[in-house]
Amino acid sequence: MMIKDTYPVAAGDMTVAGDVSARIKRQMKRLGIPSDIMRRVSVCTYEAEINLVIHSMGGEIEFEITAEDIIVRSRDVGPGIPDISKAMTEGWSTASNEVRNMGFGAGMGLPNMKRNADEFSIESTVGVGTNIVMTFHI
């Protein structure tokens, strides 16, 4: 079972934020991915997708399954993150009040991703964009 799908994520529209993660989750369900892994992948894709919507100018989520792993990649064009260690701190957030009123912007997204993925890497260039790779061993 080898799968590699790429889903575009538009910036700004919270009403559809989560649609890509829901599609990925349904696909994992169809494929019979064990529930613990499915849950961790879902948390990570959803947090990544929300970040694309609220912090970037648009990007994509790539979902790949290999013989050993599930790999989720998030890439965007956007402002980038000037201080990654700050951004990785629980509770640190630059999200607007508007975003907070929609239930996000608690500053837990990146820490949640790191905690749930077996491997997590993030690269960001200010003024260019951000890339995240998360690997889950099946």
């Binding site: 989560g18 529930s35 849950r39 912007g105 608690a106």
Partner: protein, 116 residues
Amino acid sequence: MTLKKIAEILNAQWLCGQEDEDRETHSAFASDMMSDVLAFVKEDTLLLTGLVNGQSVRTCEMLDVPCVVFVRGKMPQPDVIDMAREIMLPAMVTPYSMFEVCGRLYEAGLPSVKLE
């Protein structure tokens, strides 16, 4: 505790999924911040929230939450209820405040989710 019992204790109105009222839930988590929910909620955990937009339903879908309770009598928009119905997420709305909802359920024996 069954969803039926929870609905009784909270004097709640079902929005969808009442056919699953015999489903059991073993703990609860209360928050309006979905990232906190994503950080702490385990399987079989009931979500109590004042957030009535689609992100609350999406969050439940991601975590396989067995039921969502909207507090303070806040009614989600019909499209949000449709979304819950579509993913077969039982949902109800209670007139009580978050504090009272938590107090009533805790008193009735429903424990908090264990924080790691």
